[in-house]
Symmetry: C2
Subunit: 286 residues, 2 copies
């Protein structure tokens, strides 16, 4: 069980980072909203390999939740998080800022980072403003931590692609790397929102990944009718008790719509569906 230095202010992060920089150490950064699970811990291990020092932030970002979304209900488990991180090791600095530390002028009139049209597709279609909120917080956290490497999970694949786009388009010098989705034994992607599921719903939940994986298998078997593959997956989700939001086949590289010439290996299937109180997302990235 290792020590886990924790800071809450921008000034304290900068001081710690400046010390590492002076010692010519590189820094990897893992932003999270807390309620840590094995998916987060796998990102810490990835970060550890990528740089000398690892900074994790825990911050439930208000600007990425819509007015009718689960900001208030989002699980906050600071004690358990600290305990897990201490036991797992690998994090050199934990940054747990207040809202005012991240948004010094409040969130209503905050300077915002606004993303290209992809931010309004897929999850963005049912969560307007969500990805702009993500970009607004990630840009701030990057400016605070100034890491060499940013570590994100591929479970939030659209977020990953949009943050990569933001970093490149805004000419930030950080390198983005990503970790594979970590799954429960039955295939359900680990997610803080799995907590919202009743035990009955939890038993049904793996059907989301099964439907997406079946769609990917159909693609790889040479099926060319994407609309049909997507519809089959939507129907499978409905039959499993989900209220599907979307299932879409996209180019893995940039989430652009596929062209007839794209190889199945260049494609990815993404989906989102409601199950009880939870809105679950998943995709077939490996």
């Amino acid at each position: 069980m290792s020590e886990l230095p924790t800071v809450t202010t921008v000034a304290d992060v900068r001081e710690r980072v400046a010390g590492w920089r002076a010692a010519h150490q590189t820094i990897a950064f893992v932003p999270t909203m807390g309620n840590l699970h094995d998916g987060h811990l796998s990102l810490v291990r990835l970060a550890r390999k990528a740089a000398d020092r690892v900074v994790m932030s825990i911050f439930v970002n208000p600007t990425q939740f819509g007015p009718s979304e689960d900001f208030a209900a989002y699980p906050r488990t600071p004690e358990e998080d600290r305990e897990r991180l201490s036991q797992a090791g690998g994090v050199d600095l934990l940054f747990v800022p207040s809202d005012g530390e991240v948004y010094p002028f409040g969130t209503r009139d905050a300077v915002r980072v606004t993303l290209p049209p992809l931010a309004s597709e897929l999850c963005g279609a049912s969560r307007p403003g969500h990805f702009d909120g993500v970009a607004s917080v990630v840009s701030r956290l990057l400016n605070i931590v100034t890491p060499d490497v940013l570590v994100l999970g591929r479970k939030d694949y659209q977020q990953l692609v949009l943050v990569e786009r933001m970093v490149e388009d805004l000419r930030m010098s950080v390198r983005v790397i990503s970790g594979a989705t970590v799954r429960e034994p039955d295939g359900l992607a680990m997610s803080s929102r799995n907590r919202y599921l009743t035990s009955d719903e939890r038993a049904k939940a793996p059907a989301l990944y099964r439907a997406l994986a079946a769609a990917q298998a159909a693609l790889e078997a040479g099926e060319k009718d994407h609309a049909r593959i997507e519809q089959d997956a939507m129907r499978a989700l409905e039959q499993a008790g989900f209220v599907p939001d979307y299932v879409e086949i996209r180019r893995a590289r940039d989430l652009g719509k596929p062209s007839p010439g794209d190889a199945a290996s260049d494609l990815i299937v993404l989906g989102a569906a409601r199950l009880g109180r939870a809105r679950l997302i998943d995709n077939t990235s490996r």
Copy 2:
């Protein structure tokens, strides 16, 4: 006459800056749109005092011009600029990027930085999107140059206040300093857009600063009726042959609307007015 190293790519700027950082040198950055005049050169001298190294950029930023504005006509004088800078000295690196180097995904679907409501007031009221375009380019340039100090002129006072706000709100670690407006002997603020004036208009142009200075003098003499001061200045501009856009008294600190308790010394008068082809701006900051 000193040497003036010039680069056009992000990679070349980063390489140069990394060398200075390795030598523990600090960096000041002066972003410009070129067509350099004594106002710009005064910012270079300020930058020189503030840091070990001075980087200037020359980039006519397309995203801060409206569709009916003067992007195409904006004076581009690269040879004269290099000549002036070489003679004046003080710049260690000149960065002259292409549009594609600053906006690698083009300008239409670019990631943008959007500013709080102040960006839609004063000059923003008649130039919608202008300051978001400024924020979008300044944030990129800061990410490329990563200076310790950003040097801006107080002639573009609203731009200065909004960039300060962006830097603080996005938690960028750069320090913003500003240089006083440099004026022609007759009081006209130096500006690239003065080139648009005919000689007849040029003779009338100092009336803008005279009107604003008279308004400031009225404030300092104890006049409390701000609306009347502003109207008097607008009338003076009309009589001088301008088509006034606005004259407004604001809090100097943040350009908020004045409260009854504000001292005259905490206030500033800003104005914009058209004279022939030119839209001129000025203010009473010192």
